[in-house]
Symmetry: C2
Subunit: 292 residues, 2 copies
């Protein structure tokens, strides 16, 4: 297993982790500056953060600072209740691929969507099998385009508590089934983003990481599961503050040949987003060394 | 599929659903009275509610009113960090079996426990595989005693969001693996409690219900998954108010020969526990007829 204790070679910061500083928006250009000052080599930005600063400017900053993008967040939300929704999702995902290409991201992370409308509190139906079919088809269609743009897709299975509103793909097994169906030749153009927060509980996790192998392991996201967890979305913990055995899971990834970044992705409205982002970054570094 | 629209033959009320009325404790004797007045034939009481009224009195009320117990909540919490914890769990589970027998419950529901200490905010370790081994061994030991008392055990896989603090058995697949290991002859002495809230998201649910078959399907619990869900524990919805296709899952159960009660189990600190319990029961009945 790689030694993370001595340098920052494999640390990436998902920019949602510091999207707020002391409860106020912390813009992406300042995040980049704060990362660069710490010799952090990679980030994974969110589209709305990129948009707020302007993608051309972000692309320039990324290049000027020789930053890698461990991923781009995010494509997906493939589920729909009418043709208009289907076309909008298709269009938006192609734009996400274009943006990922412009920024030089190593992959486009896909949060696939749940029951259409559920995220706004009103699901159009309760047929999760239908959503899963739409996700399968939507990824299949996007895959051709993503291949043409040389952007690998990374399906991120989300924790089952997001099945209704954010992602109806909730296990590695399911995500890898989709990969196998759409890309039986293991081309590397589609794989998974393994976020320990979403998958740590799964008794078949090790087996599924082994099944994935190096061609399908596109990203590795870390944070921690707190006890208690006070909010379904925005109460993630800093690595080491919760109950996930992160080094064990990283070991499983690396045993399969994963040698990419370890990306810190923490949504924390009550804690880290209330801290100074500079402090949060310092703690990310400290924990990357000691607890990942 | 059985017709629930015309009578209450197969409705059971998990007594946690009405443990509060207008925000105040609603004791079990009053719950029983309110159920009996509505011709509800079955309940599934919680141990602390039984204790508060006194088990002898509860047993008398149950018998006098010819109530069935679709289950007894609950045994489990098998995980421990020292010998004292192990012995306490063993002792407590045997008592739960005794109580279930005294009350004439059809099964003892098992919530197996997560990482020891996590429920109090401080996990003793982060080795979920160890917890799973302890659960396996704990159930195995309890099973002999439960058999001798003629009380079937029902492992209730809990939603993965409870993996850390309440149950490290989070899927039907895992629960049935344990059943198969401990009871390869399908004696009926151990099976699962299928709560739609915990398992609705699982893409292999139908397949696992089929795998379970009539000998392993010991209980069926209903409520609904709300969008948004505002609390990990106490924001369950009334059947029909969320996104779970309950009739579909009931159909899968009954196709395997399940012909027991449909037990309403709703934890709802913000909504139903604030209502008058009599109203809550009326709505349970209405939704049992129309949405289960």
């Amino acid at each position: 297993m790689r030694d993370f204790s001595k340098d920052l070679q494999w640390l990436s910061i998902n920019t949602a982790t510091v999207k707020m500083s002391k409860g106020k928006e912390f813009p992406l250009d300042q995040i980049i500056d704060a990362c660069v000052r710490r010799n952090i080599r990679a980030i994974s930005p969110w589209r709305e953060q990129v948009k707020a600063v302007g993608i051309d400017r972000v692309a320039k900053l990324v290049r000027a600072n020789n930053l890698a993008l461990s991923g781009y967040c995010r494509g997906g939300m493939f589920t729909y209740s009418d043709d208009k929704g289907m076309l909008a999702a298709r269009e938006d995902n192609r734009r996400a691929v274009d943006e990922a290409a412009q920024l030089g991201a190593t992959c486009l992370v896909l949060v696939v969507g749940g029951l259409p409308g559920a995220l706004n509190g009103k699901a159009a139906h309760n047929d999760i099998a239908l959503s899963r079919q739409q996700v399968h088809d939507g990824i299949g269609e996007l895959l051709d385009y993503a291949r043409s743009m040389c952007i690998p897709l990374a399906i991120e299975p989300l924790h089952p508590m997001y099945a209704a509103d954010r992602s109806c793909v909730n296990t590695m097994r399911h995500a890898l089934d989709i990969c196998d169906e759409l890309d039986p030749n293991l081309s590397g153009s589609i794989g998974v983003a393994v976020d320990v927060y979403h998958v740590w509980w799964d008794p078949s996790l090790k087996q599924q990481i082994e099944r994935a192998g190096p061609k399908r392991l596109h990203a590795f996201h870390v944070c921690d599961w707190l006890t208690p967890t006070r909010d379904l979305l925005n109460d993630r913990g800093m690595m080491g503050d919760g109950v996930i055995n992160i080094p064990m899971i990283r070991g499983w990834m690396e045993a399969q040949g994963y040698n990419g970044f370890s990306e810190v992705e923490i949504f924390s409205s009550g804690n880290w987003w209330q801290c100074d982002a500079e402090t949060t970054l310092d703690v990310c570094i400290e924990r990357h060394h000691a607890r990942v």
